[in-house]
Symmetry: none
Subunit: 420 residues, 2 copies
């Protein structure tokens, strides 16, 4: 059994059939690497008892730790429990707490409990149960022994897997595999700058410290600057990463980093709104609620978001927001003038501190030579007046609408930032 | 070497470090399954010569076909070529066409050609070269032989991998592995039924036909019923899958299957709205625009969605939708009465055929013993009156809101279905 050999094993025909990428393996690998536990193999096998048994046996023989995700559900093709029993040549026992948690869950949802569901509470003898607070299937840990590595079985649904890992598996891992070296990861999220520009700007930092790794990743208009730092202690890694973060921020400037470590654009906007005591209202056409919905993702957004309007039709733009018919007739719904009147109207009727408006051609139809698909006008109304901005998005309907929502939120963020 | 055993092997530390999910394995698996070539294993290994060599040797020994992606680049951690040479105990030869393509590419981009870049043109003796029209690294095929399966090596960048697969690997696969049977996959999407209930309901169909595989997968309140059918011909597989789909639909009833093969709930709703010539309006509190935004995902939804209202505050519920202050005072914002008045008001002011309302406690704060986090009231106003429904969601803020949006859309779908 090689020291520090860790594998992640996923089960599910849907992975082998290409219906989904194996996001659980990715998430678990990121967590384990943060904990100083590098992952050596990812494996995915079908819901086939023989394949799963053979692979599990091989993995447990060659590795110190195997994390198996999926197959804990109540149905016939959930094979993980039986397979573990076969590999360990042991039997299962009904776990009373797991059973009562399943019963409770169905009661809360006011649903009848099918008997086959309780089979999920039958756990291998000698395991450490991992109770599921977000779903019905409990997980479990089989400690290492008899030339076998340790096995952690987690449910397949990502939300359940994440919660169970954080609630119980993580602490067990920290005790069982104390890291030899601390690792820290920080991600800075940058909006509205080309990746190559960010890359060139950060060039002075590359290779400056062999215990620091800087990586870039572009996705949906956002550039993630990933800083990985190693150190003898967590403190040392933290100091290293904070110094590097400061350098990155200095080079990128004060406005472009909108969040860190998975923070969302809407969180930055709500934070700035709360700080300024301002409220926001949205008048959305092509985004049709995406901006308000993203603001409402943030708990406590009710302090700064009271109401918003989805005005898809011209008639609604006029009746609800007071956009003048002449404006629509002269310039069209997708125009600076309409965006300006939408924002001004929304700010007025909502009596809001600032108002955002979006009107664009999301596609696939509705484009013209003069106004192509992707053309989007934004309005931002504040007490210093109304500003309009144009963008040409090049994606499909969904991409154009998400990009527009993100761009609108960033517009508000930069305005609030400058007002501070 | 088992017949029809195919593995996909990915190399790259970034996968094992959890920076990305293995999207290449997913994409390749989808293509291969479409071609009647089921994939048995996915594996990912680090950029480590020993791990890669051992895994490649094992995979080639046990499988008929291995598709390896990544590691073809010019840098020192691109190990695929050397590893293949080691496993096959052969040497490399500079491929003139590959070399000239690399030189051409650099010339076009007016870049100086680093010598190490040409190493990419050094391909194993006896391979079938796969030329790269989207990048520098050529791929190659090692035909099966000496108890080894065939090996296809493709570049890691998805765009290059896709192009190379379609341009050359696909035709070679079709000739080398003429499908012995056709396979078809159909997914039926079921909403608002526990997985274990669906499982029990479909039990009569399990194992009835060895050429049919039925699998379930639960995600976010949706149960995917995945039907895989095999047949001597595509027609035979299609007949088999259609018969099974009919049986599944009969057992599940006429309403619960809302879409097939990745179709979305909002598409079903918009389709039914268009058929009935009705328009829809939404009055959203906790979902704050998610329902309207999902409807607007559907191209052409402007035919049936003109406007909607996000009324987060009580004051907005009263001013915009006409919810009576007495109702809010007596029953609270999260109540059947408020949901009913929100829906009725929205239908009236939008002059819409049907209106949906949602008001709930998304959490994490705002819950009480009487009204816990997750409690959500829905209103549906049609010309036959207003109906209200209550749900208790058990997720976090985002999940409760997404679940509420989905539930509201399903409410409209079922109402429109019954009116037909």
């Amino acid at each position: 059994m090689p020291r520090q050999s860790i594998e992640i094993l996923s089960t599910g025909n849907e992975i082998l059939e290409g219906l989904y990428a194996d996001a659980n393996a990715q998430w678990l690998s990121a967590r384990l690497n943060e904990m100083g536990l590098p992952v050596r193999f990812h494996l995915s096998v079908r819901d086939d008892p023989d394949d799963l048994r053979e692979q599990l046996a091989q993995s447990l023989n060659r590795s110190q730790l195997v994390i198996l995700s999926g197959g804990l559900g109540p149905t016939r093709d959930d094979l993980t429990r039986q397979t573990v029993l076969a590999v360990y040549k042991t039997s299962a026992q009904r776990d009373p707490r797991a059973e009562s948690m399943i019963r409770e869950r169905f009661a809360k949802r006011e649903r009848e409990l099918p008997e086959n569901n309780l089979a999920q509470a039958d756990l291998p003898l000698g395991c450490i149960p991992l109770y599921n607070h977000c779903g019905t299937a409990p997980g479990f840990i089989m400690p290492a022994g008899k030339g076998r590595g340790a096995l952690i079985c987690l449910p397949g649904p990502p939300f359940e897997l994440h919660a169970m890992f954080e609630a119980s598996a993580r602490s067990w891992l920290e005790q069982t595999f104390p890291p030899t070296e601390a690792r820290r990861l920080r991600v800075l999220h940058v909006f509205n700058r080309p990746e190559s520009d960010v890359d060139q700007t950060l060039h002075p930092l590359y290779g400056r410290d062999e215990k620091i790794y800087l990586g870039l990743r572009a996705k949906g208009g956002i550039i993630d600057v990933r800083i990985t730092a190693r150190g003898a202690t967590p403190e040392e890694a933290n100091v290293r990463i904070s110094q590097c973060e400061a350098d990155v921020r200095r080079l990128l400037g004060p406005e472009d980093v909108f969040a860190t470590d998975g923070g969302a654009m809407e969180e930055a906007v709500v934070e700035l709104l709360k700080r300024s005591g301002k409220t926001i209202a949205c008048a959305e056409s092509c985004t049709a609620g995406m901006i308000a919905a993203r603001l409402a993702n943030v708990s406590g957004s009710s302090e700064c978001l009271y109401e918003s309007y989805i005005t898809y039709s011209n008639e609604a733009k006029t009746r609800i927001l007071g956009v003048r018919p002449e404006t629509l007739a002269a310039h069209g719904a997708v125009s600076a003038q309409t965006a300006a009147e939408m924002a001004r109207g929304a700010r007025k009727i909502a009596a809001a501190g600032i108002a955002l408006s979006v009107t664009g051609i999301a596609g696939p139809t509705g484009g013209s030579a003069e106004k192509p698909v992707g053309l989007t006008w934004f309005g931002l109304a504040t007490d210093s007046g109304v500003q309009t901005v144009r963008q040409n998005f090049l994606g499909d309907r969904q991409q154009n609408r998400s990009a527009a929502a993100l761009f609108a939120l960033d517009l508000a963020r930069r305005a609030l930032l400058r007002e501070q």
